[in-house]
């Protein structure tokens, strides 16, 4: 007699597919409701070829709710819009500015647009 691995023990490889019980009895009640789990890369629309992560030291930008040890998600593919936070370079160093820039900040070079601020709550 051949002993086969029960269908239920096998881990469903493709989570998009509804799980169908191979045993007799009731099929999973979730059969028609399976969805892919939340993917942060997708939710935060991380455009991986243009995205960089940058760690902040100090509280120089606490007015922008950017605190010490926060990690900024920077998307270079974006063009900054009104009220966006931008990472810029001025006189060879990085700065965070709110769009629109002031007159004296117009010499700075845009490095990327800050899309999210990751704050370690612990």
């Amino acid at each position: 007699m051949e002993i086969e691995v029960s269908g239920k023990v096998k881990v469903a490889k493709d989570r998009h597919q509804a799980e169908v019980s191979k045993q007799t009895g009731f099929p999973s009640a979730a059969t028609h409701y399976m969805e892919a789990p939340i993917d942060l890369n997708e939710e935060l629309s991380i455009h991986k070829d243009a995205t960089f992560f940058v760690r902040v030291k100090g509280n120089a930008w606490k007015d922008f709710t950017i605190l010490d040890k926060d990690v900024l998600i920077i998307d270079r593919s974006l063009t900054p819009g009104f009220k966006d936070l931008a990472l810029v370079v001025q006189d060879g160093s990085f700065k965070v500015l709110r769009v629109p820039f002031d007159k004296d900040q117009e010499t700075c070079v845009l490095w990327g647009v800050i899309t999210y601020i990751i704050h370690d709550a612990r």
Binding site: K48, D49, A50, F52, F53, V54, V56, A60, G92, V109
Partner: protein
């Protein structure tokens, strides 16, 4: 049409993206073990009084005096940045041939309705915007001409790093502009011979009779000749050819007299090359191991030797390879010397699924592919040699390459991210 895209002083540019304090300043990148300069940016190249090919320890003071910033090579960073560039390029053409870490050919056939110059400018601008890396774009009917167009894009300021060679007149003009040595694929030896018969410019070369070129420069020269005349004969290689040999030969950070640590280094190098072997799904038939003292040294006794092991059954199993390489190493090691380098090289590579068994040996080893796969998955996820043979030992830092000035791996290590804003409280 075919586009040739390459990054301007790629390694130095990668470093500068994350170091705006170095924008517009001379930057060089050093080879493994910080031995010599392997890349210099435009600003560094302008300091022509610095002998850039000299050993770093001889010219270090000149570099410092001239405020040249130097970095140890950070291949993790360069590799990841390169991947970004190639991904962006693949949005411009379904057919991208990655020619090297910083160069790619794009097949633009079938895009005849668009403005090629605008397309090239778009490539350049998008790559710069997304990654901060400057590139040059050359577009022409053949690969060799595209390479030449790329050179013109870089060398002739009015083109602003994008040049399209789309007419016969422009092709002739390019051939009149280019020296014979500027042509991709014509080596120094051929340049001398061609100059001896009065061929100085690319235009002189294409006027040579084909029969002469074929006879003197083989089919390779013939292809170049045809490509320069606008006849495409170099194919696109989107999937790279599997390597015929995989090896590594890195110097130790210090001279090692004892077999133990050399064995550990050897096992480490085998681990590295076996991983590459498995990614291309090959097995090795021969292991070459070589051991060297430092031939630059005047105070050390000199010795070097090499040996080859033939495996009864070709394998890509790290443990099997380490065992054999270790035996080979022991057979050439002699005590009483201070060694500088061990080299390992795997050859006789055959596809994994073509391995022939041996009548006198069990083939149970095949089962270990599961083990190797697990190893590869773990190491890819958690970092190099997270799980490895105990032969590697724990003294890696005692023989590892010196990378004193390596920049952080900004894009692959969460603990090495770019840090900004240290001045505020």
């Amino acid at each position: 049409m075919i586009a040739m895209v390459d990054c301007n002083s790629f390694y130095a540019s990668c470093e500068q993206v994350f170091r705006p304090d170095l924008w517009g300043k001379p930057v060089v990148v050093l080879s493994n073990n910080d031995g010599c300069i392997i890349a210099a940016n435009k600003e560094a190249k302008q300091l022509t009084h610095i002998p850039m090919f000299e050993a770093v320890f001889k010219i270090k003071h000149i570099l410092i005096e001239n405020k040249v910033t130097f970095f140890s090579s950070n291949y993790t960073l360069y590799g990841e940045m390169s991947q970004r560039v190639m991904n962006i390029l693949s949005t411009f053409s379904p057919c991208v041939e990655v020619y090297s870490i910083d160069e790619a050919f794009l097949d633009l056939h079938g895009l005849s309705h668009i403005d090629m110059r605008a397309y090239g400018v778009d490539m350049k601008e998008r790559i710069y915007k997304y990654t901060g890396l400057p590139v040059g774009v050359g577009i022409a009917p053949t690969k060799v001409l595209a390479k030449l167009a790329n050179r013109m894009a870089k060398k002739i300021p009015t083109y602003q790093h994008v040049y399209v060679m789309d007419t016969e007149a422009k092709r002739i003009e390019a051939l009149q502009w280019a020296d014979i040595g500027d042509i991709w694929g014509i080596g120094r030896k051929h340049v001398k011979r061609l100059q001896a018969i009065g061929v100085f410019k690319a235009i002189d070369f294409v006027k040579l009779p084909l029969a002469w070129v074929r006879k003197e420069m083989t089919v390779v020269g013939e292809r170049l000749w045809k490509e320069l005349r606008g006849e495409s004969c170099l194919e696109f290689m989107v999937v790279p050819n599997p390597k015929k040999a995989i090896g590594t030969a890195k110097s130790f950070g210090q001279k090692l007299p004892d077999l133990g640590r050399i064995e550990e280094a050897c096992a480490y190098y085998i681990t590295e090359v076996a991983e590459v072997l498995r990614t291309q799904k090959s097995c090795a038939t021969y292991i070459h191991v070589a051991l060297y003292t430092n031939y630059h040294s005047t105070i050390d006794k000199q010795y070097s030797n090499r040996t080859t092991v033939t495996l009864s059954i070709p394998t890509n199993d790290t443990f099997a390879l380490i065992t054999q390489a270790r035996k080979a190493l022991q057979s050439i090691y002699k005590s009483g010397y201070r060694y500088k380098k061990v080299a390992v090289n795997l050859t006789g590579l055959i596809p994994e699924n073509h391995v022939q068994g041996n009548l006198f040996e069990k083939r149970s080893k095949i089962l270990d592919t599961n083990l190797m796969q697990t190893l590869d998955v773990l190491n890819r996820k958690f970092g190099k040699t997270t799980v490895s043979s105990a032969m590697i030992g724990t003294r890696v830092s005692e023989w590892e390459l010196i990378k004193r000035e390596r920049s952080p791996r900004y894009t692959t290590q969460w603990r090495e991210l770019l840090e900004i804003g240290s001045e505020g409280v």
